[in-house]
């Protein structure tokens, strides 16, 4: 996959870190401000997709990245499921039980298990969108060979 011109590459290098950090902020502050795992995960995936589109990538590295991202996706979904079913053991026997202390509302460390769910789902959504993108790119490279 070929990269784009020097101007696009330079602007992407400047913007990409900002987009990535904004995505992380949206994920980790999901229980305080509008946003959450889905929106932040899509932003993080957008940062990666922008980098690959602007700079290009070689076939072998693309394959490796796809393996890693699909593994991340499955691991994050399993982690969310384990966290949800750990509510069955702790406290009252309810799936999706919020067993951690609620904390002071408005602080970053509050809301019990809700921030952890947001982080896991953020990783999952980012990895899923990146996997779909990489699968399409690899398909095109396979065809042109």
């Amino acid at each position: 996959m070929w990269g784009m011109s020097v101007i696009v590459k330079k602007i992407t290098q400047l913007m990409c870190a900002l987009i990535f950090v904004y995505g992380i902020y949206i994920i980790t502050h999901g229980h305080l401000t509008p946003g959450g795992g889905f929106a932040g995960g899509a932003l993080v995936a957008g940062a990666f997709i922008l980098l690959i589109l602007a700079n290009g990538s070689e076939y072998v590295r693309l394959k490796k990245q796809e393996e890693g991202s699909s593994m991340m996706e499955s691991a994050a979904l399993i982690a969310a499921l384990v966290l949800a079913s750990s509510g069955l053991i702790a406290g009252s026997m309810v799936f999706f039980n919020n067993f951690l202390p609620a904390g002071i509302p408005g602080q970053l460390a509050s809301g019990g298990v809700i921030p952890f769910f947001n982080i896991f789902i953020g990783i999952k959504v980012a990895a899923a969108l990146l996997t779909i993108f990489l699968a399409l790119v690899i398909y095109r490279e396979d065809i042109s060979k």
């Binding site: 509008p34 999706f96 509302p105 699968a135």
Partner: protein
Amino acid sequence: MELMLAVILGFMIIAAIYAIHAKDLLSAIIAQGFVGYGLVICFLLLRAPDIALVQIVVETITLIFMVAVVLDSTRKELDVQVDRKQYRIAGLSVLFMLVLLFYFNRIIAPLDGFGEHSMRMAEAYAEGAGQTGAINLVAGVLWDFRGYDTLGEAVVLFAAAIGVVTIFRLTGKN
């Protein structure tokens, strides 16, 4: 505000009808993007920034995907020939829909009338959401009271990613 909402919704309906009937697939995708971004403005007018944020990001990424697919394949729509057999199938499906509508009507009869909301669940959410400790009540409802919903959404995305990876694999493992 409602007038503005109605105007935007009207434009969205026109764009959706155009997207179905357009002969050029690229212009169909652009019209479909108009529907998506119109939905963003609707969400903002209805004071739902959470969903507007998700909609704007997902809409942009899907538009990029679809434009890439159309530029790689063909821009012309296929000519579909309609023969007598398809009319029969269409008639049967309309009949099936009418039967479904009849039973749906009987199912929703005991519910509240049109325009009268049953606020029992909403009141429980509003009282209980503060106990989760999350200031963003939407996150509290999403991950505590309606966790099954959100888990289902996550699994749908997971299934979509697996499907794409499986379909677009030329060199199999065997």
